[in-house]
């Protein structure tokens, strides 16, 4: 048998072996056996020196061709085996993707705090400061500086927990405003603030009353503040909390620290004005109180009421949350039932 025939035979056998190889180890063995230094092709090439000179190139190139063919057959087979191996692995690794994911353990803000955060964000964006103040206040700041002298009939509007004759649980967060007004330096710009926090009233707890609840009061004092500015600001609050379609309307009201004073209604977000149980079939829901700061309040805080003026508003995050989420018992907020708290997890 000539070398060429030997090579052809070799190739045929090797190809068969390659195509039958089932794993990478086998194919590696074949590579070493067939193409290695001690393999048959090398041997054939080594045997070339026994050939006549003129045949050598012919056989040589044939041998190289066989080697290349086998080499690429090995690569192809190797690739093929890898594909099979991978797809076999993927097949084995198949899982039931409908099984539930691993729960992520997180907590979340209280729903009232979510409302407060939302409103704080709105006002920080408009350049307001957020100002905190004491929950146990002096009668002086809670009432007198708010234009509510002792024995004023409007003191009946707020039943108060007194600690002593002088100190009380604040009934509103407006004393924070009085304290801030006293200190504010108007040469450094206007006063724009909101004061969120807990307030207390001497009330018996029931579905709509709580001896503890929250308030956010806002105040702007500058040279050219108008009631139209108040209206625009209130509209923004209503639209931020209750949706961008909302309208507001103002109705006359009475608060000792503002004049004029208004009650603010927002168009019903449940029925959009058609009338439903939320809006008591009026299309409007009372949401907050506001007004232009009473000159007495400015004067008491040492502000020139002929030069400066402004607006104030007060809203109840508890009430906002009740309206927005349909909570019908204010006590739910302070019982902290996990099943209640966990309902308000949507952040988007």
């Amino acid at each position: 048998m000539g070398l060429k025939d030997k090579l052809t035979e070799l190739k045929k056998n090797a190809l068969e072996e390659i195509n039958n190889a089932k794993d990478l180890k086998k194919i590696n063995d074949i590579r070493v056996n067939v193409l290695g230094k001690k393999g048959p092709i090398t041997e054939v090439l080594r045997g070339m020196r026994d050939l006549p000179k003129e045949e050598r190139p012919n056989v040589g190139s044939f041998a190289n061709k066989v080697r290349d063919e086998l080499s690429s057959a090995i690569s192809e087979r190797k690739e093929r085996i890898e594909i099979i191996k991978t797809s076999k692995r993927l097949e084995e690794e198949k899982i039931d993707v409908t099984l539930p994911g691993v729960p992520v353990k997180t907590g979340q803000p209280h729903i009232i705090m979510q409302v407060i955060d939302q409103i704080e964000k709105l006002f920080l964006g408009m350049g307001y400061q957020v100002v905190d103040g004491p929950e146990i206040e002096e009668d002086h700041y809670n009432f007198e500086m708010m234009n509510l002298p002792k024995d004023h009939p409007a003191r009946d509007m707020q039943d108060t927990f007194y600690i002593t004759d002088k100190f009380l649980m604040r009934t509103q967060t407006s004393p924070v405003q009085a304290r801030t007004m006293e200190k504010h330096d108007f040469s450094k710009g206007p006063l724009k603030m909101i004061s969120p926090g807990k307030v207390y009233r001497r009330d018996t707890d029931d579905a709509t009353h709580s001896h503890q609840f929250h308030q956010i009061e806002g105040l702007v004092i500058d040279k050219n503040i108008t009631m139209a500015d108040l209206k625009g600001t209130l509209q923004l609050i209503a639209r931020t909390v209750f949706g961008k379609e909302r309208e507001i309307r103002l109705r006359p009201s009475y608060f000792p620290f503002t004049e004029p004073s208004v009650e603010v209604d927002v168009s019903c977000f449940k029925c959009s004005g058609e009338g439903c149980s939320v809006c008591k079939h009026t299309g409007w829901i009372e949401v907050l109180g506001a007004g232009m700061v009473h000159p007495n309040v400015l004067k008491m805080s040492g502000i020139d009421a002929d030069v400066y003026g402004g607006f104030a508003f007060g809203l109840g995050p508890d009430r906002f949350a009740m309206l927005k989420y349909g909570v019908d018992d204010i006590r739910e907020f302070y019982l902290n039932d996990m099943r209640f708290l966990k309902q308000f997890s949507q952040r988007g």
């Binding site: 539930p100 691993v102 729960p103 353990k105 907590g107 803000p109 209280h110 009232i112 705090m113 920080l124 350049g127 905190d132 004491p134 929950e135 146990i136 002096e138 024995d151 009939p153 409007a154 509007m157 927990f161 007194y162 600690i163 002593t164 002088k166 649980m169 710009g189 206007p190 724009k192 807990k198 001497r202 009330d203 018996t204 503890q212 040279k223 050219n224 503040i225 108008t226 009631m227 139209a228 500015d229 209206k231 625009g232 600001t233 509209q235 103002l250 109705r251 006359p252 009201s253 009475y254 004049e259 004029p260 009473h294 000159p295 302070y334 019982l335 039932d337 996990m338 099943r339 708290l341």
Partner: protein, 803 residues
């Protein structure tokens, strides 16, 4: 204030749907509580005439009545009312009628007798119990003699009109009268007000001076007047008057008292009628009570008076509490013939105090507190006197006895056009504003763009320019105001340091798996005083509403335990809550407590429940401590945080509680609740922490400097050792760090073992030590040298057996 629309129409010519009118009032003046019509919902209720009334054969209290209801046939109706009588006009609910509360009346049988309908009491057709005349409270009502059988009863009872119930704000006490409301409605609709004035006919042959003289301090009563009406017959008032009263929510009593109430509603002027014959002597004194004086008021209560009560006194002492309630000894009864009628304006703050102290809030006291139209005191007194005379066939004695009489003049307030427009953000013209003041019935003088407004005494709420701006705004209409935002100098809006720390704390704890709770700041004194982090006096309410809420909290954990107990009682066994809020520490001698921001957490049950994929994670000390560590680290608390075994907290597990320090600063504690407390709350093992956020704020420094990441590899060595159980991890770690050499960067505890494979008094601890040099690759022998040193030290110091 219940406004009768019929009465209103006597004064202002309006013809407007009640709902529309109510809405307009609400948008322009005061809130409206309700608009209603008494007859609404009622059906087939007519006048009946009881022609024959016989005892029911099978009952000792029922009667069988033959009733004419206008048709050809009489109706037989069985009636159980004790006051049923023949030949009376009564209220009949016909078969298939509907009475109050949507109750249907059907033909039926009562103890064998056919009953074709029902004879009704006023309450049964919707009257409030407290407006029904006394003599009809326990029985059926008798309609006027001239009521026509078969006709609907509504007009006879004043039920055929709309009532608008106003919620009058304290500043608009002028609207606590029909006349004041009429002015307001007229201004809203740009109409004229026509008010009737009852002309007084005095008996000139007699003079009040023959009856009375009065002494009154103007500080107590700026106006104090009396009239005498003599030869009066006290009897039932005519039905027109009764209708007006009960529609206003007042129970008719007799013609004298009814007139004073009627005038109260009409003018807003409280009046009081005395039985003149029961007054001792001829001198009336308005004065402050002396301490320990006693007065029995008409509600038969004996009241101890003090020097803040204004009283009306005769020779023998107090006969009335000014502005709140009359005395029983001088009250008008059926035998009264001579009336002393009082009209006054009392000191509002004293009346308020008296009303509060004696719990005597009434229509009258409310008006004295909020103000009275000084201009119409005399007119109201005259109208009342004349009406009493007319209804009681009496005569008004000439002249008024005066203790004091205040002059009532208009108040002048000036304001410029610019001021109005600048405050409202409008561009109103002079004529627009003039028109508004004219509609309100104010006098107005205009010079250029300056208004001088003359405000009549009936609007005593107006005294400064801001008040005028409000009048303009509301009559012009708030809807017409533009909506803008404040212009002017820009200001930065940002949280301050403390606010940032508070908000960061909340976010960290939420991300760590705790849900925010908001508990009550007021609690019992026992709960308030637990878990104290520093000695403090408690801060108590003077007049708490309930024994559960008496004291300002001095810790947050108590509230969280309440929350856990609430959850556990409802079978929610896995709870992980935190709260951020204030506690109130008070020093002896200070009335006012210091308010300190705290943060606390409480966990019980499972932190994570088992899933198909993961085992359950129960809450324990180390999980809770891990949350605290994470929070402090993430907040950037600088300095080394120390956890020190703490067995001194009464409410905590003595072996499972750590006090937390940074240096010498005590921040708070973390640990397990004492089993006794758990038992009290009916909760299982609960882990808590509470920290002083105020101190944390002080420890948080702004950003640490960047440390370059080392390019050179780290080398680790593990050491496991057996040591005595009493030896603390913190001491071992401290020892390793102290002796670890300059390349030691991290010490991690990765295993703790106690149990059968080790002697009972020993435990095994295993640590991973990480070495790294920032500037060079560490040599193995250097690490080994450092590590061996640590091991030797551990052996020596803790008698550690290296494993």
């Amino acid at each position: 204030m219940k406004i009768s629309t019929k009465w209103l129409k006597d004064y202002v010519d309006i013809d407007i749907e009640p709902q529309v009118l109510a809405e307009k009032i609400e948008r322009t003046a005061v809130e409206v509580d309700e608009v209603y019509r008494l007859e609404k919902g009622l059906k087939k209720i007519v006048v009946g005439e009881t022609l024959k009334v016989e005892k029911h054969p099978n009952s000792d209290h029922l009667h069988v009545c033959q009733v004419n209801v206008g048709g050809d046939e009489l109706l037989q109706i069985v009636c159980g009312a004790p006051n049923i009588a023949a030949h009376k006009k009564v209220i009949v609910a016909l078969p298939n009628s509907r009475i109050a509360d949507n109750v249907k009346i059907k033909r039926g049988k009562m103890r064998g007798e056919v009953s074709e309908g029902m004879i009704c009491a006023l309450q049964e057709i919707g009257f409030a119990e407290n407006v029904v005349p006394k003599k009809f409270v326990d029985g059926i009502y008798f309609l006027p003699e001239d009521a026509e059988p078969g006709m609907p009863v509504y007009p006879y009872l004043g039920m055929d009109e709309n009532i608008i119930d106003l919620d009058v704000t304290p500043n608009r006490a002028d609207m606590l009268s029909m006349r004041g409301t009429a002015y307001e409605i007229a201004a809203i609709y740009n109409k004229k007000v026509t008010l009737p004035h009852l002309e007084i006919k005095e008996n000139q042959n007699d003079n009040v001076a023959n009856f009375l003289e009065i002494e009154a301090e103007p500080e107590l009563a700026s106006t104090y007047l009396m009239r005498i009406i003599k030869n009066v017959t006290v009897k039932e008032s005519p039905i027109w008057l009764q209708k007006r009263l009960w529609n206003a929510g007042i129970r008719p009593l007799n013609n004298v008292v009814d007139v004073t109430n009627y005038i109260l509603m009409d003018y807003g002027q409280p009046l009081h009628s005395f039985d003149y014959e029961k007054i001792s002597g001829k001198k009336i004194i308005v004065r402050l009570a002396q301490n320990d004086e006693v007065l029995t008021t008409i509600d038969e209560q004996e009241r101890k008076l003090d020097a803040h009560d204004i009283v009306i006194a005769d020779e023998d002492g107090p006969i009335a509490l000014a502005g709140t309630m009359g005395g029983q000894s001088t009250s008008v009864d059926e035998k009264t013939t001579t009336i002393a009628l009082e009209a006054a304006v009392f000191n509002s703050s004293l009346v308020r105090k008296t009303a509060r102290r004696h719990n005597l809030h009434s229509e009258a006291s409310m008006r004295f507190e909020r103000g009275i139209n000084r201009k119409t005191v005399v007119e109201a007194l005259n109208a009342a006197a004349q009406l009493i005379a007319d209804l009681g066939n009496g005569e008004v004695v000439s002249e008024i006895a005066k203790g004091a009489l205040e002059d009532a003049a208009p108040v002048e307030v000036s304001i410029s056009l610019d001021k109005i427009n600048n405050v409202l953000g409008t561009s109103l013209k002079v004529a627009d504003i003039e028109n508004i003041f004219v509609r309100l019935g104010f006098g107005v003088n205009i010079a250029n763009t300056m208004f001088t407004v003359s405000v009549p005494p009936r609007r005593w709420d107006i005294s400064i320019p801001a008040d005028l701006i409000e009048e303009v705004a509301r009559i012009y209409g708030y809807d017409k105001l533009p909506a803008t935002l404040p212009k002017g100098e820009l200001t930065p809006g940002h949280y301050n340091h403390s606010q940032n720390i508070i908000r960061a704390t909340r976010q960290l704890l939420e991300a760590a798996g705790l849900t925010q709770a908001i508990s009550y700041g007021l609690t019992t004194s026992e709960k308030a005083g637990r878990f104290l982090m520093q000695p403090s006096e408690s801060t108590q309410l003077k007049f708490p509403m309930s024994s559960d809420r008496t004291t300002a909290r001095m810790n947050l954990i108590s509230g969280l335990l309440d929350d856990i107990a609430y959850n556990v009682a409802r079978k929610v066994d896995n709870v992980a809550l935190y709260e951020q809020g204030r506690v109130f520490y008070r020093e002896v001698g200070n009335d006012r407590p210091v308010e300190v921001e705290h943060v606390a957490g409480a966990l019980t049950g499972l932190f994570k429940t088992a899933t198909w994929h993961e085992a359950k994670v129960p809450v324990d000390f180390f999980l809770t401590k891990g949350i605290v560590e994470h929070m402090l680290r993430s907040l950037g608390v600088t300095g080394r945080v120390k956890y020190v075994q703490a067995d001194g907290h009464e409410e905590m597990h003595p072996g499972r509680t750590a006090d937390i320090y940074v240096g010498a600063e005590f921040l708070g504690f973390v640990g397990e609740i004492h089993p006794n407390i758990c038992k009290e709350y009916h909760i299982s093992r609960t882990y808590v922490f509470e920290l002083d956020l105020g101190k944390i704020m002080g420890l948080v420094k702004n950003h640490a400097n960047y440390t370059p990441v080392s390019k050179y590899p780290a080398v680790t060595r593990d050491v496991a050792m057996a040591v005595d159980k009493s030896i603390k991890n913190s001491d071992i770690v401290a020892c390793i760090k102290e002796n670890g050499g300059k390349n030691l960067t991290k010490v991690e505890l990765f295993d703790v073992y106690e149990g059968e494979h080790i002697a009972t008094d020993l435990k095994s601890l295993a640590y991973k030590l990480t070495y790294q040099n920032k500037k060079a690759t560490l040599l193995d022998e250097d690490v080994t040298r450092d590590f061996d040193k640590v091991v030797d030290e551990l052996k020596e110091k803790f008698a550690a057996k290296i494993r």
